[in-house]
């Protein structure tokens, strides 16, 4: 299929072309390959903001209020909201637009809902590609909302320049705050629903968690092994009210501060390098998995190997090595 007409339209800022291209990258990985190949050199201009947090912490409402502020500044905004796919039926309810009602009529706002289609990590396979399409579409800012996360869905920090974690009063104590996972990847903590009791306690918990790290920093060689930490940035904390808009001015200042920090240091370069590395790794995993699955379901010797493993004359590790040989990618 030829996508050049759609891509041409996308580059002139046609919303329908953007929407259609996102559908294509969602549904068809071969289409994704061709489309990204064609638009890649037009990407890299947008600032990508990741919003994550537990279900019901107010991510969509928060994004709605933030979007209004950026829209008033004349910015063109793209929003990608990810919601979970049912593991039982493959269906999904995408409900993030409900909170963003006031944004529908804003001219320069493009909102896209996306089901994660079973991918763990808080995003969908096609989220990165959708972000690139919105980038080429001409968005200045792209806000990515993850599914409601628990503790370990951290993919967002591999995709976004600034990661914002939303927390709410009353969920968990100070031990929750020093657990590994999303608390480690945060650039800005937002305590949402500040009018509820316990907001200040939440801030204290986060502050203390951060201070523990600062005063007794263990320079582990492991840090950055998987992904470099944005080393000299001390996460900021702000409490806000997404409905009244209280303290959003402060939040936008913190975003700008983090952006300045990124552009003044080498962190952004490191981030870009690692983003490319990680993205390629994901693509490779996907491609190799497909190859392996194809091979396992069709190659005639696989049945022989299985028999050998059943007879205990071969073990699963050795069988895996034999399959790698068959693939010829050793």
């Amino acid at each position: 299929m030829d996508y050049s007409d759609l891509i041409q339209k996308l580059l002139t800022g046609n919303a329908r072309a953007a929407a259609r291209l996102i559908t294509l990258v969602e549904n068809d990985i071969e289409a994704a390959e061709n489309i990204i190949n064609a638009i890649y050199r037009h990407t890299g201009k947008a600032y990508i903001l990741g919003i994550t947090g537990p279900p019901g912490s107010g991510k969509s409402t928060f994004i709605a209020t933030l979007t209004k502020i950026y829209a008033e500044q004349g910015k063109k905004i793209g929003i990608v909201c990810v919601d979970p796919t049912s593991p039982l039926t493959g269906g999904a309810i995408l409900g993030d637009r409900i909170r963003m009602k006031d944004n529908f009529s804003l001219k320069n706002v493009f909102i896209r809902s996306m089901a994660n289609r079973g991918q763990l990590g808080g995003l969908a396979r096609a989220t990165e590609d959708a972000v690139k399409i919105l980038d080429a579409y001409g968005c200045d800012i792209i806000i990515v909302e993850t599914v409601g996360v628990g503790q370990s869905e951290v993919d967002i920090f591999k995709s976004a320049q600034t990661v914002v974690v939303l927390l709410v009063p009353g969920l968990g104590d100070d031990i929750q705050a020093i657990k590994a996972g999303i608390m480690e990847i945060t650039d800005i903590f937002v305590v949402n629903k500040m009018d509820l009791a316990g907001a200040d306690k939440k801030i204290t918990d986060i502050t203390q968690m951060l201070e523990l790290g600062m005063n007794y920093k263990y320079e582990s060689e492991k840090v950055g092994e998987n992904f470099p930490l944005k080393s000299n940035w001390t996460p900021e904390i702000v409490k806000i009210n997404s409905i009244s808009g209280e303290n959003f001015g402060k939040f936008v200042e913190l975003i700008n501060k983090h952006r300045d920090y990124l552009s003044e240091s080498d962190v952004l370069l490191d981030y870009q390098k690692n983003r490319i590395k990680n993205e390629t790794l994901q693509i490779l995993k996907h491609k190799i998995t497909e190859k392996v699955e194809g091979l396992i379901s069709s190659h005639p010797t696989i049945d022989e190997y299985i028999k050998l493993v059943m007879d205990k004359s071969l073990d699963p590790y050795s069988m895996a090595n034999l399959i790698i040989k068959l693939l010829g990618i050793e």
Partner: protein, 133 residues
């Protein structure tokens, strides 16, 4: 072709209509049929609905109307979709639609008209069999 296409449906409540239990039940049924369902909430203007269709690129739009405003709002929605060159989306309206209004709505390109008592299975099959792409 490594196509794993899913049917994407937009369920919405146009106009001043506050009763969305039916819309929610329908959204849930379509979800359970393996579809990706966007629910936009209450009080959608034709412009909001068309913007959503434009951005989300759904295969079908299911309008739920109990307020009696279907003859006023549906043609406006259809016209605005046309203005935006959107002609490959199934648009259906259901809820409380009197029989005598159905030909008028059909002329404007709407289908379905399912009301209270309809089996959810019927609506799921209707969506699957009437997609335009």
């Amino acid at each position: 072709m490594t196509d794993n296409r899913k049917i994407k449906v937009l369920v919405c409540k146009p106009g001043l209509d506050g009763h969305d239990r039916g819309a929610k039940v329908l959204a849930r049924a379509l979800r359970d049929a393996g579809m990706e369902v966007i629910y936009t909430g209450l009080h959608q203007t034709p412009d909001m609905i068309v913007q959503t269709v434009l951005q989300e690129d759904p295969d079908a739009v299911m309008l739920s109307m109990l307020s009696g405003a279907h003859k006023a709002l549906c043609p406006v929605i259809m016209d605005k979709l046309k203005e935006n060159d959107i002609d490959d989306v199934l648009v259906s309206v259901g809820g409380i639609i009197p029989d005598e209004d159905k030909p008028f709505l059909e002329e404007h390109g709407l289908k379905g008209f399912y009301g209270p008592g309809t089996q959810l299975k019927t609506i799921v099959e209707f969506v699957k069999n009437n997609l335009k792409r």
